[in-house]
Symmetry: C2
Subunit: 106 residues, 2 copies
Amino acid sequence: MEKETFGEYIRRLREAQDMPLRRLAALLDIDQSTLSKIETNQRQPTRDMVPVLAKVFKLDEKELSVKFLAERILYYVQDEENGLEALKLAEESIAYKKPAKKKSRS
Amino acid sequence: MEKETFGEYIRRLREAQDMPLRRLAALLDIDQSTLSKIETNQRQPTRDMVPVLAKVFKLDEKELSVKFLAERILYYVQDEENGLEALKLAEESIAYKKPAKKKSRS
DNA sequence: TATTTTCTTGACAATTTTGTCAAAAGTAAA
DNA sequence: TTTACTTTTGACAAAATTGTCAAGAAAATA
């Protein structure tokens, strides 16, 4: 089976509420055709949709952000042989950079 | 200290060989100003530079690809609160999708 | 310091990506 | 099936990103 894209996820949420595309588009402040294209993977979703979607569908914003970002990243490395290694390396860099909440030992 | 970007890394490799920018640009088949801008972070490096760079500087291409991709990913999530979580989630997705070389059990 | 070579810069051209409009296609209700 | 509503589509406009040119700044060398 294929992984659901973020756009398809939006559609699922929207339809679960019987909300017309036009209405969600208005809330997102974009043209309805743009939303249609996003939901059908002809355009990429944008970062600033996230807080609006979280509000509209009563989802945890942080969780949704993570979902959005993860999908964007996957989209970027999708055809890459070594995507997984790249992710791991990127992760190390971040983990290293990010100051731990508690002091690291050594 | 700041993390070295991929562009800065190129410059380091290049200077280690006393190779003029103009010459590497020619090998990469781009304008020297473009390379200059890449090395000084005014433009983003592109995917297709990687194999050329690997060859020119005698580096392992896979390793260099990973380095390139990781940097691109970091660039994308750099200002994100939840970048690390996103990477982890993306990683799970890939790991799951990717067929193991040996059969997975169950 | 004059000359040559290398690197950087700003303005703009080219390309890519995105968003919109308006009409068509699809769906459901009267 | 007409009518009303929703979604999709294609052509194009707008925006963002990238690459180039040509001139100038900086650095090295004579």
